[in-house]
């Protein structure tokens, strides 16, 4: 929520700018947006009609870059570097940050070798410095680094822009969570009823014993 | 709403709430 709050003003600003720009100015805006240290969400800007108009023009690569930052990773860029413009160091850093968020979508525990491969990093110190300074201190990720198990346990990761095809998975996860929660509540309810029943039975049994004891005392 | 979708995506990534070895031991 904190991330989204920080995003809201920036996104608003850039969306308004994008709505009145075209051609080279828009390409410049895309560069600014994809280099901005506090912005990790791009779908709102991507949906501004002026951006779509860049398709097929000499500035269509800017649109491709924006799409890459919205949905892609550093690995995707490396595979398509030939057809995409060169990225500045700020853009490279941001794309790598976004790649960590993508990896965290599927796994809570991220192995160091997987991260080093994805982020093009050759040693553990460099990887950990990146995760600490560019991810944890940037507030987009929270977690613990485990050198013995050479992994990064993610406790929180900011959400990336979603493609429509990702929605089904999310809905399924939510349904599963809902079902598990309902089941658990039902089980707890049953346990409460069972506990009440046992308690009543125990009280009744105790009363019967006490009554018998009284009877025997009287008869003696 | 993209912002809400991103928040939901982030929320779902918090599940399960804990997954460490030590937690599994303590939980059991």
């Amino acid at each position: 929520m904190d991330i989204e709050r920080k995003h809201a003003e920036l996104i608003d600003l850039f969306v308004k700018q994008a709505a009145v720009l075209d051609g080279p100015a828009l390409a410049g805006l895309v560069l600014e947006v994809t280099s901005h240290p506090s912005l990790f969400a791009f779908s709102e800007i991507l949906s501004v009609p002026n951006l779509a108009k860049l398709e097929g023009t000499q500035y269509s690569s800017s649109l491709d870059v924006l799409r890459l930052f919205a949905y892609g990773t550093w690995g995707d860029y490396r595979s398509n570097a030939g057809s995409l413009p060169a990225l500045s160091s700020d853009q490279v850093r941001k794309l790598k940050q976004l790649s960590v968020l993508t990896l965290a979508e599927t796994n809570k525990v991220l192995r160091y070798n997987q991260l080093m491969q994805e982020l093009d990093v050759s040693n553990v110190r460099e990887l950990e410095d990146f995760l600490i300074n560019e991810c944890m201190y940037a507030g987009i990720v929270r977690g613990k680094l485990d050198q013995l198990r050479t992994c990064f346990e993610v406790q929180f990761a900011a959400g990336r822009d979603l493609r429509p095809e990702q929605l089904n998975n999310m809905i399924q996860t939510l349904s599963n969570w809902l079902d598990t929660s309902d089941n658990l509540l039902y089980l707890i309810q049953e346990k409460i009823k069972w506990a009440d029943t046992m308690s009543e039975a125990t009280k009744k049994h105790r009363k019967e014993i006490e009554d018998k004891v009284e009877e025997v005392k009287k008869s003696l | 709403d993209n912002s809400l979708l991103r928040q939901v995506s982030s929320l779902l990534r918090r599940l399960p709430a804990m997954e460490s070895e030590k937690f599994q031991d303590d939980f059991l």
Partner: protein
């Protein structure tokens, strides 16, 4: 005796005008404040003790200054003289600072920075002086031993609006947020320090070095579940054996939670809370995130 006192005071004035502070202090310390032969009121005694302490402090002589401040402390509680009381407090804070009792000094500096009056007796209290006291409080807190006590003082300072206007604020923020401090930031901070705050210690680290290493170690404990001595040394910029030694001392003194496996050469950090409690906290966080989404949906009419 009266005449000797006058001569001593005059000589002390002369020494002061020549900035020979310790000599001036020694001249005044020869005055017999417990004389049975003349009437010496408590205010006079207090003023002399404080004056002598202040003179010794000009030469950074904490030992002698402390001797006189201790004498003054018996008199200050019953003193109504606001200027002297303030001077006493400032001296005391500076002595603690010089003696490297940084946390205590910080608290006293902070108290002084919170003075509301702008005129005490004949003395005007200007904003710069209060800002200096606040800055000194922040500096001393950062130099204090990392641990729970320091964290409490850091929180107080960080939440004080006035600190956000200090030059030293960026480093206060990083220290409060328990973030690792890098060399350029430490070097910039070092420029603001006094010589005794950068003095060399028996273990060949300076006061500043030790404070920064301990802070960074504590910051690392928030980021790592465990770390090898080798990597820890690299992170802290010191040899691995020294990193182990400092870590073990901090754990022993209960300023950091963890354990050391010398066989594997690894330090395991422990959280302040147990796993199951952390689970509870994660669930709380999850529910709050869910609430935020629901609030967001409501505000957007969904």
């Amino acid at each position: 005796e009266e005449q000797v006192v006058v001569i001593r005071e005059k000589l002390a004035e002369l020494y002061e005008s020549e900035q020979q502070w310790s000599k001036a202090a020694q001249m005044l310390s020869g005055i017999d404040l417990d004389s049975g032969m003349r009437m010496v009121d408590d205010t006079y005694k207090l003023s002399k003790c404080v004056q002598i302490a202040r003179l010794y402090l000009e030469d950074d002589d904490a030992v002698n200054a402390e001797a006189f401040i201790n004498k003054a402390s018996f008199l200050v509680s019953s003193s109504k003289h606001e200027v002297l009381n303030l001077q006493y407090k400032v001296c005391y804070a500076r002595i603690l600072d010089l003696k490297r009792k940084f946390l205590e000094a910080a608290l006293r500096y902070y108290q002084i920075s919170q003075i509301e009056k702008r005129q005490i007796g004949d003395e005007e209290i200007d904003e710069d002086a209060l800002e200096q006291a606040l800055s000194a409080a922040v500096t001393c807190t950062i130099l204090a031993a990392a641990g729970p006590q320091r964290s409490r003082v850091l929180a107080t300072l960080y939440k004080d609006e006035r600190c956000s206007k200090l030059k030293i604020y960026p480093i206060l923020q990083k220290v409060y947020l328990e973030r690792i401090l890098r060399k350029p930031e430490i070097d910039a901070f070092a420029e603001e320090l006094k010589p005794h705050q950068k003095a060399l210690l028996p273990d060949n680290f300076t006061v500043l070095d030790r404070a920064m290493i301990e802070h960074n170690l504590l910051s690392a404990s928030k980021l790592y579940t465990n770390i090898s001595f080798e990597e820890l040394g690299t992170l802290l910029g010191i040899p691995p054996q020294k990193a182990e030694k400092i870590a073990s001392r901090m754990i022993y003194e209960d300023r950091m939670r963890g354990s050391i496996d010398q066989v594997e050469a690894v330090i395991h950090f422990e959280d302040d809370t147990e796993e199951l409690q952390q689970w509870d906290q994660q669930i709380v966080g999850l529910c709050q995130a869910l609430n935020d989404i629901l609030d967001g949906m409501t505000s957007k009419g969904i």
